[in-house]
Subunit: 134 residues, 2 copies
DNA sequence: AGCATGTGCTTGGTATACTTAGCGCAAGCA
DNA sequence: TGCTTGCGCTAAGTATACCAAGCACATGCT
């Protein structure tokens, strides 16, 4: 890990460029955060996902909406299920009986056997502060 | 229902044209069968799925591999879940990594629409530090 | 200083997803 | 016998997903 972020390069005229749509931007952010969480550089992830690094750059910045199999490859490279990816891309929630979209973070936390009670409370407290429901 | 199939038009040089790949052909067949099962003409389905009828034609014949949201729209129009569609397209079955812990808290956090990306990152980081996995 | 390597990003091109117009045929009605 | 309507498909164009080359900066080594 030598190089850095430089300076976001060029003009920061993004912000609300919209480009192709709105939901795709958040997908890009999601991918980027997951990539950084996994300590991968763009080129590394791009290589694993079998796409070019410039393209990954554009995707993360929300300029393009990747096709399904690219999405699948990225999801794979990040060790997550393709479904999670599609869900984030807003590609899954639809008309059919898709009721249980609300697993809920709190519920999942409470059920996790790896967490102590105190840890659960901590996480839930942070979670609530984030979503404003204090 | 007035018109018919005519004569498959032109030359029947298809069979194994391959075009864009092999798995996509079966997807096309699948869509066509479902469409006929629902007694819909191409134009009808195309209208509902918000795509053009010639394009639907190409897709059913396996000439093109439709993008994810087109797939979603078609699935919708045929009253089936998008997942079923993706599965048929071979877009779902890859390596779910079989890591049980992903289905719990992290999964729920990732899917929560009320959280910003940074917030998700924060929570997941805390979560991981709690359970000792990196 | 100067080179080597690593970072994210821009530029310009190619491939392919997707659309608007239009063809040839089959069935129903005058 | 035409004319109309609906069918699937072809042909030609536009939009966009995607790639190969390369830039500007940053770090580390000598």
């Amino acid at each position: 890990m030598r190089g850095g972020e430089s300076k976001h390069s060029a003009i920061m005229s993004d912000e609300e460029k919209d480009g192709t749509g709105t939901a795709w931007r958040s997908l890009g952010d999601f991918i980027r955060s997951q990539r950084e969480l996994a300590n991968l550089s763009m080129r590394q992830l791009a290589e694993i996902a079998k796409i070019s690094n410039p393209y990954l750059s554009q995707v993360e910045r929300g300029l393009y909406k990747p096709s399904a199999d690219v999405l699948k490859n990225i999801a794979n490279a990040l060790h997550m299920s393709a479904e999670t990816m599609y869900a984030q891309a807003g590609l899954l929630d639809d008309s059919p009986d898709r009721d249980e979209s609300h697993h809920g973070v709190e519920h999942a936390v409470k059920l996790d056997p790896q967490l102590s009670v105190d840890q659960k409370e901590t996480i839930i407290r942070i979670y609530r502060s984030f979503i404003g429901r204090e």
